[in-house]
Amino acid sequence: MQRQLELELIRKCKSGQSRFYEPLVRAYEPAGLRLALAMMGNADDARDALQMAFIKTYDALPRFDLRRSFGPWFFQILRNQCRDMLRSRKAKFNVEALDERFEQHAVESERDPERTRQRNAAKELLWRGLERIGTEHREILVLKELEGFRYAEIAQILEIPEGTVASRLYHARNALREALVQMNAEYP
């Protein structure tokens, strides 16, 4: 979404016109759901977290500084929401309903079912690896690799100094590698 358009929508929302919040929700929903899914591990908890994050974001909009970017601010709220839910209630990251989460490559499977099977098995293994590492490791990997945020944005979302992002990523990647090795996955 264009920055100017985004700012205009936020201004309208700040003035109490909640219908202008819809384009913002629609624009950030797919990326937000990916982050929530990767943090929570299942679609129901991810939707609950996402829904609450959007509500909290709307409630906090009057205090939003228009000089900031909306995206990292929203993801910061979403990340905190996921962490709160993981901490405070039954929600626990678990690799359930894998079929629901994995994209099936229909065309590919028609051509080469064996390759598709291997590919899905590798993905499942990777998810299992992500399940084994801690939330702190998982969230930074998701922000970097699935959402493609720059280090400065990750630092803002995670509320850490920018200089810490590289070292956190190193530890997260190493933790994932070790988890995969423990599951007998081979990495170069």
Binding site: G16, S18, R19, Y21, E22, V25, R26, E29, P30, L33, R34, L37, A43, R47, D48, L50, Q51, M52, F54, I55, Y58, S88, R89, D99, E100, R101, F102, E103, Q104, A122, K123, L126, W127, L141, K144, E145, L146, R150, Y151, G163, A166, S167, L169, Y170, R173, L176, R177, Y187, P188
Partner: protein, 153 residues
């Protein structure tokens, strides 16, 4: 010389490559001169090359993870909208209710009805309001301790 470089925020080409350098290089976060330094170190060390290859493979594999399109089909907007638009409705409802109540009380108090009737009717009205307030208060207290209050299904 090294301290001057540090002040200028540049690194000596002979400095060893740290894990942070490697991550920044992998993620395209290094400035060109720093990238050249890492590339020179990579050319001289197969161990470093192997480490980078491993991290790169991991990066590509994570980026390849995707979700089933059905996951995105149901939007949370409807539920979010219900919540964000509700306060306006409640404010209007409560303001209207209070306004009508005050106006009704004013008309009743200034009417020609006898003081005893006014007193009796007033007591009934206040009693009903107190009972209503106590029910609302009990509901509110139950809601505060409900661990699932934030979840709308």
């Amino acid at each position: 010389m090294r301290s001057i470089r540090r002040l200028m925020n540049t690194r000596d080409p002979r400095d060893p490559i740290t894990s942070d350098d490697l991550m920044r290089y992998l993620d395209g976060e290094l400035p060109p001169e720093e990238s050249s330094r890492v590339e020179a170190a990579l050319a001289a060390s197969t161990e470093l090359q192997r480490e980078l290859a491993m991290f790169r493979a991991l990066k590509v594999d994570i980026q390849d993870l995707s979700f089933h399109p059905a996951t995105y089909r149901v939007s949370v907007w409807d539920k979010v909208h219900k919540h964000v638009s509700r306060p306006v409705g409640w404010v209007l409802l409560i303001a209207g209710f209070v306004g009508w109540m005050l106006y009704g009380a004013y008309l009743f108090a200034t009417s020609a009805v006898s003081p005893w009737e006014k007193l009796g009717s007033g007591a009934v009205a206040i009693g009903i309001l107190l009972l209503l307030a106590s029910v609302i208060w009990e509901q509110y207290r139950g809601w505060v301790v409900d661990p699932y209050k934030d979840v709308q299904r």
